[in-house]
Symmetry: C2
Subunit: 420 residues, 2 copies
């Protein structure tokens, strides 16, 4: 078999460790030079393939590639471009195969979440249909932790650690101020549909009664009265109340709290996310002084406080993707399997892409306390190992030293340009 | 001279390292048992003294006290209670002296910002007037870095490091997403009057042209047109734009951007901080997709990413306060003096409290670029040493292990209660 090149692309919202997966792919491919040719990375993800903008990773030094392991975000660029169904836009898929053909690409490594698992599957199916063989391997990545058939998703452990540590620290802050000042602190975190990230806030507690006192999950219908009652009771008991709220927290009818149209003192509708809406509610109904934080990108790019478990897994799924490809696999995702023992252990497996694409894994009800405001011990047992270990990046002048890739493009071979 | 006890209190907004100062005070006092009796800490700051709620720190183990060095926020509680002027409320000052007398307190260590420097001075003056000798020593603390007569303030270096690191990480995130998604990222940071914290965002840049592209300081009048033009130009040139905005950023007439009454699509006034207001402006005028983060308490409690320079200085000012007291000093603040050499060095000095109380140190104009959107090399030379070094706390189960003090109160000796 002639030596084929590989294509690697990052997809969707980036994470603190997606570059560790890139590092795993590139280092494993370089270690198999006799079997795999060059590794091209899509400039800005799959868009780079469509536009024939392929980054030649062989131009990057081994040192730069190694540094990807401690560099957050997508070094080659990512994108939110979701390929339509084949029937709706066959041209996009055909273009991908054309580009792959032109550059002798035989391996397609797609590093993303549910949407990209779907794309990866379609590329594999189409390659068969068009008679140009491509092995498509999906490398899981999502802070949302919502992919099925894997115990967890690389990227989640680090955002979970960030949220747990930040909740713990901010809780100490409000605890020391509450006697004469702020009584309620709200941290808004990511998670449009699944409450995994908010749940991680619960890991801030070492003992029963420790903050956070309330967690709001998208999975549990928001009840305004019950919530306000719990806030008031908590402040009465502890002097303060710490809330971790998922951006996707919603009412029973599906209205997001963020969109629920709280009105201010002037009767104007108050815009903003979950945190300011809850804060407005608490101020107007309970008259309590509040502070709130919106972590936004900080939470998913916080490589400085990454979980070493997460970093190791992210690297390993990248490396293993290459090994699966070399073993002839196709249309599979590298999965993480948890060992049965009491002590946490994990190993990698594989899962068929047709069982993954477009399935979202929600928090099981057994992970959420009966009152809907906390995580259970079962959830804690699941979550805690994923934030274990610190993996600090190197520092210079007080800030982390992150990789700077050259991102040099391969010369184009196709005459046509393609509008994305 | 009979052995006197000491009183220590934390004041105002807490920081990642104020407990390191507490550690310095208590360890230094314990090392001088022959000269200083017990160290009482005010429960919730000066309120604890007024209410005669004194925490007996001798009940804490050496290990717990040592752990304060890596524990954020105020372990004994802080407060926002500002004593009125002596003429407006002499009862408060008289009560303080009464409580100090009842508990044989001869040393008053007050750990805070400008307001507490003022209180500290007044206590000293009153003690003279009332004939009960108290040595009042001020220990500087403020994330705002706005105290005069000291090169910098403990607490600032760590929030500066947090802001620099977070800005760098979030910048990598948006850089990798901007081709098809978010174009503008705004990080809102603390600093009501002085732009020191926002300035620290500039340390995220390693090279000219690196993000952040725009910093908004309270010291520079906000010009909406100039700002929007700069955003548009930056996005055109780099594909994205990163903004660090001080919460105190304001228009020429003193109106805070946060209060400037942006209106939403429905004509309603949009509430919120600087970041959402700027985001709304960018969306409506330039049509660019944005993300924004509000760090709030996270930035000042982020002990996990504290500057080791800051931790060392915070500890040292506490320790030195005790040494100054033992040397007979009164009505002084421990100050940090920067060495003249090219290589950063510092030593501690003292500054008279009457020159400190109620003076705010703003960013010099020479620290801000001509266009008002960046820091100069002079600012960088000043700021960079303050974020040097990492001082990681110990971890257990993936989260930092922070001190838990017992906070046991001393038996009251006064019959009267005092309403605060």
């Amino acid at each position: 078999m002639a030596k084929k090149n590989a294509f690697y692309a990052q997809s969707g919202g980036v994470t603190a460790v997606i570059n560790a997966s890139a590092c795993g792919v590139i280092e494993a491919a370089r270690a198999n030079r006799n079997k795999i040719g060059k590794i091209y990375a899509g400039k800005n993800g799959i868009i780079g393939a469509l536009r024939e903008e392929l980054i030649d990773t062989s131009k990057e030094t081994p040192r730069t590639i190694a540094a990807l392991k401690h560099t957050p975000s997508g070094a080659f660029g990512s994108c939110r471009h979701k390929l339509k169904s084949f029937d709706d836009n066959p041209a996009e898929y055909e273009r991908l195969i054309e580009v792959f053909k032109a550059h002798n690409i035989g391996y397609f490594f797609y590093n993303g979440g549910g949407d990209s698992a779907d794309t990866c599957l379609k590329v594999s199916q189409l390659s068969e249909k068009m008679g140009y063989p491509i092995q498509a391997i999906h490398i899981p990545k999502t802070v949302d932790n919502d992919l099925p058939l894997t115990d967890n998703c690389p990227g989640f452990g680090s955002v979970a650690k960030y949220v747990a540590v930040s909740t713990k620290e901010a809780s100490l802050d409000i605890a020391s101020m509450c006697a004469s000042s702020t009584k309620v602190f709200i941290l808004e975190v990511m998670g449009r549909h699944a409450g995994w990230i908010a749940a991680a806030g619960g890991l801030a507690a070492d003992q029963a009664g420790d903050p956070p006192h309330i967690i709001l999950f998208p999975e549990i219908a928001f009840n305004r009265e019950k919530f306000l009652k719990k806030v008031a009771q908590t402040v009465k008991k502890n002097g303060y109340c710490v809330i971790v709220a998922s951006e996707g927290a919603q009412y029973k009818n599906g209205t997001l709290i963020a969109d629920s149209g709280n009105t201010d003192a002037f009767g104007h509708k108050q815009l903003g996310g979950v945190a300011p809406t809850l804060a407005g509610m608490i101020k107007s109904e309970l008259g309590l002084k509040y502070h709130w934080a919106l972590a936004d990108y900080l939470q998913r790019s916080a490589r400085h406080i990454a979980s070493s478990t997460d970093v190791e897994q992210a690297y390993a799924v990248g490396k293993t993707a290459v090994e699966l490809a070399l073993a002839g696999k196709n249309a599979v995702m590298v999965s993480i399997e948890r060992g049965k023992g009491k002590r946490y252990s994990w190993r990698l497996g594989e899962a068929p892409l047709d069982k993954i694409a477009n399935v979202e894994k929600m928090m099981p009800r057994s992970f959420i306390s009966r009152d809907g405001f906390a995580i259970t011990e079962t959830a804690r047992d699941y979550l805690a190992p994923l934030i274990q270990g610190e993996d600090y990046p190197p520092y210079k002048n007080g800030v982390p030293v992150y990789a700077r890739t050259k991102n040099l493009l391969v010369e184009k071979k196709l005459k046509d340009t393609f509008k994305v």
